[in-house]
């Protein structure tokens, strides 16, 4: 047994270079049993790189690691693979989703660690066990459900269940809450607190400082691959962290005046999507208006956005600027519809393409002459957009899969910002984007709306919905549960509608400052 406060992991002088360029340097870190360590930093600061090294996904370029053995003695290790790390009691939830979708939930959870006798699967034990872990993360699904039928948030929870089921001494989570809505995220924080109380160590990355403030015992701040400080609980607040992250504190946006009289651009009547068929949906968005779709995981927001863009088939009527919107996605994009998908890795980026190609793809046809790409204009617009989106490193010829997750997201949004679409559909627009860049992206979205475009976005972060939306449509179980103006919209009101009129949950996200202490520290 490990004792509380005992050191489980120690890193010395850890560094990692990609093609000679350092992504991480001189990291000194020690992790103790019974603590929650948060790692924060801007996009591309090296957080994921550090976590990948700790969990054996990639080897460090230099430096050493020591892990406590069963007797609690630190021993030097060189993790060659994930397998080694698992054996050493370390489990990781990746930033990008990574499931073999041809397996069922139980199969995914126990992949690589299947209960077996002489190599033969014990399916019964596997399913029973899987149910246990699903219940733990609050995912109310049959463990035999195939993974390719799951929504992205559900997949994220399956990954968490998978990591929990390793019963590792050190659990590492890379932006685990980024695709979860308030209730699930909340539950996950509770689980992390539980693990801490059981004497395990939890390391997690988040761009939501409120989460960090609420639960972390220590906070490690990374900036440009360097550690700019490790703060003990009680010695920091939001402002001091931000200062260490970006060198200044971040301004939040001011509320903006909304024009109530503008013409309706998008009108959706009796929309029925492919999966939720019970409740037809109708609503409208005016020119210059930013409408937020709120709801719990699986409420059907993604489905609405994808139906409007004709990614998935739908019944019902969609109208843009008074004319019916029909045809396939390409035809609708030509009409000025733009969509930023929720599943970035699968539907957003061209991993093997460079940033410039990724960002220009959607609009190269608009400034082409005789369908010939105007490369000079392309280069100019791309670098301008990279700048506006704060995409780092600012190299247009860089391959997108070598960017950090948040920067990949910026490349996907930046793709559309350059052309000012008539209707911008965003699904989790700032997933994985750091605080300062998020403010910048929000400003861009507002600027776009100010120029007369309509914006419809879905977000699981209430904070984002409240900050950005002029009007909030709350969805529940595939239908519209209610609409709130910016004035009416509060966390409590939204959660009330989102849960189908049940009493609002006690701890919606974004109210961390007040409730943080409830979890206490293990000291």
């Amino acid at each position: 047994m490990t004792h509380p406060h005992q050191e489980l992991l120690r890193c010395r002088n850890l560094g990692r270079r990609y093609a000679g360029v350092p992504a991480l340097a001189d990291i000194e870190l020690s992790v103790r049993a019974g603590e929650v360590l948060a790692i924060v930093g801007e996009n591309g600061a090296g957080k994921s790189t550090l976590l990948k090294i700790l969990s054996g996904v990639i080897p460090p370029s230099n430096g050493s690691m020591q892990i406590a053995d069963a007797d609690g003695v630190l021993r030097s290790v060189q993790l060659q693979s994930v397998r080694d790390a698992t054996r050493a009691g370390i489990a990781l939830v990746h930033q990008e989703l990574n499931l073999a979708e041809n397996l069922d939930i139980a199969g995914s959870i126990f992949l690589g660690r299947e209960p077996a006798r002489l190599g033969f699967l014990d399916l019964h034990a596997m399913r029973a066990n899987a149910s246990k872990w699903l219940a733990r993360v609050g995912l109310n699904l049959d463990p035999t459900t195939p993974c390719d039928a799951l929504a992205i948030a559900q997949r994220q929870l399956v990954e968490v269940a998978k990591a929990l089921s390793c019963e590792a001494r050190i659990l590492i989570l890379d932006e685990p809450t980024s695709s979860l809505s308030a209730r699930e995220a909340d539950r996950l924080l509770e689980i992390m607190a539980d693990l801490r109380n059981q004497g395990k160590a939890v390391i997690f990355v988040s761009h939501h400082l409120d989460e960090v403030l609420r639960i972390a015992d220590r906070v490690m701040v990374l900036r440009d691959g360097q550690c700019t400080g490790i703060l003990e609980r009680g010695t920091y607040d939001r402002d001091s962290i931000e200062r260490l992250m970006v060198g200044r504190s971040i301004e939040t946006n001011q509320p903006r005046p909304v024009r109530q009289d503008a013409a309706v651009r998008l009108r959706v009547t009796e929309l029925v999507g492919a999966h939720h068929r019970k409740q037809p949906i109708s609503f409208a968005v005016r020119a210059g208006e930013i409408v937020g779709l709120a709801g719990l995981v699986g409420a059907g927001r993604t489905e609405v956005l994808e139906a409007i863009a004709a990614i998935t088939p739908h019944h019902g009527h969609v109208e843009l600027d008074g004319a019916p919107l029909s045809g396939n996605t390409a035809a609708r994009v030509r009409r000025g519809v733009a969509i930023v998908p929720e599943d970035r890795a699968r539907n957003g980026i061209f991993a093997a393409g460079h940033v410039s190609m990724n960002m220009s793809l959607a609009w190269i046809d608009r400034n082409s002459r005789a369908r010939t790409v105007n490369t000079a204009a392309e280069r100019a617009i791309v670098s301008q957009m990279m700048d506006r989106m704060q995409l780092r490193p600012a190299e247009p010829s860089r391959l997108v899969h070598t960017l950090s997750g948040g920067n990949q997201q910026k490349s996907v949004i930046g793709r559309w910002m350059a052309i000012g679409p008539a209707l911008l559909l965003l699904d989790e627009p700032t997933r994985g984007v750091d605080v300062s860049a998020r403010a910048e992206i929000h400003a861009e979205i507002r600027r776009l709306a100010d120029s007369g475009s309509s914006v419809l976005f879905a977000s699981s972060e209430l904070e984002e919905v409240l900050m950005l939306a002029d009007r909030v449509i709350v969805m529940h179980d595939g239908g519209i549960a209610g609409e709130l103006t910016a004035h009416e919209a509060t966390e409590v009101a939204i959660m009330h509608l989102a849960t189908g009129g049940e009493p609002a949950p006690a701890r919606p996200r974004g109210t961390a400052h007040e409730h943080g202490s409830e979890y206490g520290t293990s000291s």
Partner: protein, 325 residues
């Protein structure tokens, strides 16, 4: 299972047409022949299926069939080796070929298509060079060894149908592979690797090893197939023996529900896929069609079959949707 319903439908349709319009389709002798040929082709198709599960492809199957098939009588007859030595040597050789492919694909990360295309050229070339383009046969001897493929077991109650011995390896292999895929840890791992290699690797699955083993199994089964083919046929010419068999094998696997994107397979489907191809070829003769039409008929039937299957599937999905709505 659901995936193989389509091919089962095509198979049954072809059988019905052949028995209604063809001469003597439903005779014991014909069914016996069909069983024999299906067994031989299904064995190599199973190998193709295993590789396809990993998202790879093996184009060298036909050439390995050729090399293994040619080497067997070459060693037995020309060099006078004992069958007890020849069979293990040929099988081990085939497995080594697969190992070679697997290593190049997983360690050097070369494209499977390229590696096995080179294999396609190389092994046939070696077979031709080794035998100086001379056809190899058993010259009427070695009836004992050949009975591995030629023996027929009378079935009580059935008059003219006798069970060909090659069914035994087919059944054993099918069951073993099906159990392997769906009941063992490694089968799971293989399926997961095929669908999302990095997810499997991050879960601690030894993906490189599994992929290598899939190629080993594929070449080994091609070697087994080659040997059974030559035992059955009696002689072969290195320049044409096994030509295009990789396409038949891959076609059987794909018809049987394997996706070339990897991660999906149905052993039952593969066997039915292989059977369909054989029944089609026989049906053309029994229906009295010109053998010039063979290719055209097989191509057209398969195309119509898979298209119909897909249309039916869509229609039924749409109907069930409408019902719920």
């Amino acid at each position: 299972m659901k995936k193989s319903l389509g091919i089962l439908g095509i198979f049954l349709a072809v059988c019905v047409v052949a028995s209604v319009f063809g001469q003597n389709f439903l005779t014991g002798y014909n069914l016996m022949n069909l069983t024999q040929r299906t067994s031989l082709f299904a064995i190599i198709s199973l190998g193709a299926g295993l590789v396809i599960i990993t998202g790879g492809i093996d184009l060298s199957i036909g050439s390995v069939v050729c090399l293994a098939g040619i080497t067997t009588p070459w060693l037995l007859v020309e060099h006078g080796w004992s069958p007890w030595v020849v069979i293990p040597v040929v099988l081990i050789g085939s497995a080594l070929i697969g190992l070679f492919h697997g290593v190049l694909i997983t360690r050097l990360r070369l494209q499977p298509f390229l590696v096995t295309l080179c294999g396609l050229l190389l092994y046939r070339g070696v077979a031709r060079w080794m035998t100086s383009d001379q056809s190899q046969g058993f010259q009427g001897e070695f009836a004992g060894v050949r009975s591995i493929a030629l023996a027929k077991f009378p079935i009580p109650g059935l008059d003219t149908y006798q069970l060909p011995a090659t069914v035994i390896p087919l059944i054993v292999l099918s069951v073993a592979i099906a159990v392997f895929l769906h009941r063992t840890v490694w089968g799971r791992w293989l399926l997961a690797t095929g669908r999302n290699e990095s997810a499997a690797r991050y879960s601690g699955v030894p993906t490189a090893w599994l992929i290598t083993m899939a190629y080993v199994a594929c070449s080994l089964l091609a070697g087994v197939g080659g040997m059974l083919f030559i035992f059955d046929i009696g002689s072969a010419q290195p320049s044409d023996f096994g030509n295009f068999y990789e396409l038949y094998a891959i076609a059987a696997a794909v018809l049987g529900g394997c996706s070339l994107r990897g991660g999906e397979a149905s052993v039952f489907g593969i066997v039915i896929g292989a059977a369909t191809l054989q029944v089609l070829r026989t049906a053309i003769i029994l229906l009295g069609l010109s053998s010039q039409l063979e290719f055209a008929v097989i191509g057209a039937v398969l195309l119509i079959g898979v298209t119909t299957d897909e249309l039916i599937r869509r229609y039924s999905v749409r109907r069930s949707e409408r019902k719920i709505a």
